[in-house]
Symmetry: C3
Subunit: 365 residues, 3 copies
């Protein structure tokens, strides 16, 4: 399926954000991740739990009015209860005292920062040590997080948003009303491959002091002269991307004080739902003006508007793909280098996973 | 198609409720029954009529603004008129005096109680004497009917609701807020096969005097001590099920006066619309407190809420089946005995009907 | 696909109305024509432009917030610019000074009257001289146009509306509340084949002075006696039909003054969108009472209601076709002569176009 070679489009052996922890505050959450039904809930001990989301009795979604009992979850249809640790059925109201060997599939799950991470692939390969650290996520010491954005959702294949993130020249046009500035489209690009993906750096002469600078750095830090700035986009995990809008490196050739002109990181968290839809989570973190709550609110507000534009764009493209088929040709230009590289990396990883064979059966052990 | 062996899922040679008579009060009604278009209307003589629902001229639905003329129906597109008795085209406005031999398919139809029954299968096999009697429907002498519920509809394969009705242990969970009580899930079960289906009886110790008893039997009939009660579910016709919530049989071992502690029957009338949707009609009848109109209204109100929960459940399951395919395994427990038996009975009947070959052509004679 | 022999249902080598010019007043318009994406816009010179509607870079619809620059259009995603004259990519913001040979497909386009005409087929065959003249469209000298109706859209295969237009006996039934009168269903028919289609004339005795006459001809022109009137339907282009409701030819055998009892033409402009949907444009023109603005408004209002009934009808039929498949038989009667002829003419033309082979590639030259 475009832009991949075949219908195998999910890279399952990796950690993905299944939900924001705050989404699970009021009880179990039913969610589709990579075409599989999952139920997420917090046991009474406080531990996060992730389980195959359909009751094996009558296919009822466990997250639909399901109730937490200890570390277990009770199905709301006929009351079957499954243990959150090993998936074992531990109570069947209409058949008390019947020994049951059945086990529901359990997903490896880790809660870190504002996120609930799960491993959709082979559980034997899941290493909790590979969940990105707070430092890797630019959420560790020295950083503060804006109020969390509402979870978003788009009816589009997830590669459309990843390619959007890898080619930020679109900011000058798609976001001309919200975040755009002309210089970004023509900036020079450097791409560095990393273990889990890549870092794309655009170096440019920032516009002179502008609206964005004023909102972010504050009126009192107005600068004169020409700033040199970077726009970075980096892969933290297969579905976790960070980028900056502009990080000021120097003004008139002189390095700046990073405690004044610091970094704002935009978190783009993309988890495939189905082959043609994805969950989209996000926030912003910064390492300066830590107490400026209004700045955090302002970033959140602006970012929400920007992402609505991105979602409108990828959903429009998805509709064209469905209606008219994959494009017969694609013009590729310099700014597509990173997106093209990502496609090839992803296709290679998909092929490697396919070569490992089928993952274990879903619902039974 | 799950839970059946193949795509043959409709048992056509039987009487089904196509509509509530009151739905046809204001003119013709277009309705899909088992993937066939049907128009229902009352002729001027008062007789109910059922006909293939598409005009053979331009495929226009006869029930869409069609008008009744005598026993005939006139199509609203180009005005063709079809006789309700034999389906003959009897007027073509643009071709007056042209002799026409065409006959529209007519469905055998019987009006009984609040229902319009049709026979979707081979008309030669239709025996009006096999339409359930009012006594069989617990609507005859000694019974009074609650105000009719609005006709309901669900986007789910009809077997999901039949299996729901055959395993009432779900009442303790799905309906915990509306009708549930704990004892029902663990009651003992007796199943008796009948000609048209089965009777499932759950015997249990009813809770002591509770809210339901008070609403149904009235404050003045409050009892002390332990009641023994039955919950029955029975097949009246392939798509017509009756059940009681609790029928008090004895209190502290002494039989009760059935004129005081009588029977309430819930009518579950399920007619397949398409392979993945069904019509759902219902009411309640009782044989005590016949003049208590508020009781009838209360039963109707409570039942409407309960069925909304059932519809939410089966529609949720249907969506899972569509999205994730049929379940790879199904845990079956004691309370599934009746549902399992029903599946086997239905599959056997479907096979038998398939062996009889195709029914006659739809639209033409 | 019903009513045609195979899936080849679009006659591409002809002029079609892609839009009303007024739809393009506020910027580019994205529209699907015969299963192809098209963007329409007016260049700064005032010339109308029509181009393949997807950007070849990332499949983004050019009409979605695209901006006009001179005669060119700029994509709103990454800012690629395409020339409206030859489709050449003339600017790529992230790759300035890169010579590009790519050309986007350009559609031949002509603006005439209130319409934007395009030629969806082989551009080499497009002859602007074949676009219907204003006189052919009954919009030339001596005619005045009612205020334009809003563009309409229907989810139905376009042949359903063409056959509706070819058999006006439906007016007596479908439009009985809005425009119907009984005589039309039984009028005599004459059919004359023309180069581009046909003229269908129904001759009838008009009802005596009625509501329609009063609205159209005015109270002061009330006539007594029996009028003889024609109802004409004619093909102006494959998707452009004109009809009159009633043109008075004589009263009591005496010819009438055409400056008093003139012609009202209803413009039915049908352009296929997909195989199962069409655009529907329309207005009315008349050659009498040219200054009676209220008459124009009244005709527009009445026609809007009539077309809503037609759209309800063809959408209902389309749903039946999707749900129940093509009709196993079709009763054909005298009033279907013109529709039947049209089907055969269309099928023959479709076969002829198919024999010419594939049109040129869509997006690239």
């Amino acid at each position: 399926m475009y832009p991949f070679r075949d219908e195998n489009v999910f890279l399952r052996n990796a950690w993905y954000v299944a939900a924001m922890a705050q989404e699970i505050a009021d009880g179990p959450l039913q969610r589709t991740i990579m075409d599989k039904p999952v139920v997420l809930y917090r046991g009474e001990s406080g531990r996060m739990r992730a389980m195959h989301g359909l009751c094996p009795h009558r296919n009822y979604p466990l997250g639909l009015h399901g109730t937490v009992e200890g570390e277990a979850i009770r199905c709301n249809y006929h009351g079957f209860v499954f243990d959150g640790e090993n998936g074992k059925v531990v109570d069947i109201p209409s058949a008390a005292n019947t020994p049951m060997r059945f086990c529901q599939k359990i997903y490896p799950v880790v809660e870190r920062g504002p996120w609930v991470w799960i491993w959709p692939g082979d559980p034997d390969l899941a290493d909790p040590g590979k969940v990105p650290t707070l430092d890797q996520m630019k959420m560790g010491d020295g950083f503060v997080t804006s109020p969390m954005m509402e979870p978003m959702h788009a009816n589009a294949r997830y590669m459309l948003i990843l390619e959007n993130l890898m080619d930020l020249t679109h900011i000058s046009f798609l976001h001309s009303m919200t975040a755009g500035f002309d210089e970004i489209a023509s900036a020079s690009i450097e791409i560095e491959e990393t273990e889990g993906g890549m870092i794309v750096t655009r170096r440019m002469d920032a516009a002179a002091w502008g609206k964005y600078h004023e909102a972010v750095f504050g009126e009192e830090n107005r600068f004169e002269g020409k700033a040199q700035s970077d726009n970075e986009a980096m892969t933290v995990a297969p579905g976790y991307f960070l980028n900056t809008s502009q990080t000021i490196r120097s003004i008139d050739g002189k390095p700046v004080d990073p405690r004044v002109y610091g970094e704002v990181w935009f978190h783009h968290v993309v988890t495939p739902e189905t082959k043609t839809s994805f969950h989209y989570f996000g926030t912003q973190t910064r390492n300066f003006r830590l107490d400026a709550d209004a700045l955090g609110e302002g970033l959140r507000h602006a970012d929400t508007r920007v992402r609505a534009e991105d979602i409108e764009a990828v959903e429009a493209i998805e509709r064209q793909l469905v209606q008219f088929g994959p494009p017969p040709v694609e013009l590729a230009v310099r700014s597509d280098t990173a997106a093209g590289k990502l496609r090839r990396l992803m296709q290679r990883a998909l092929d490697a996973e396919a070569a490992m064979g089928e993952p274990k059966a879903e619902a039974i052990a």
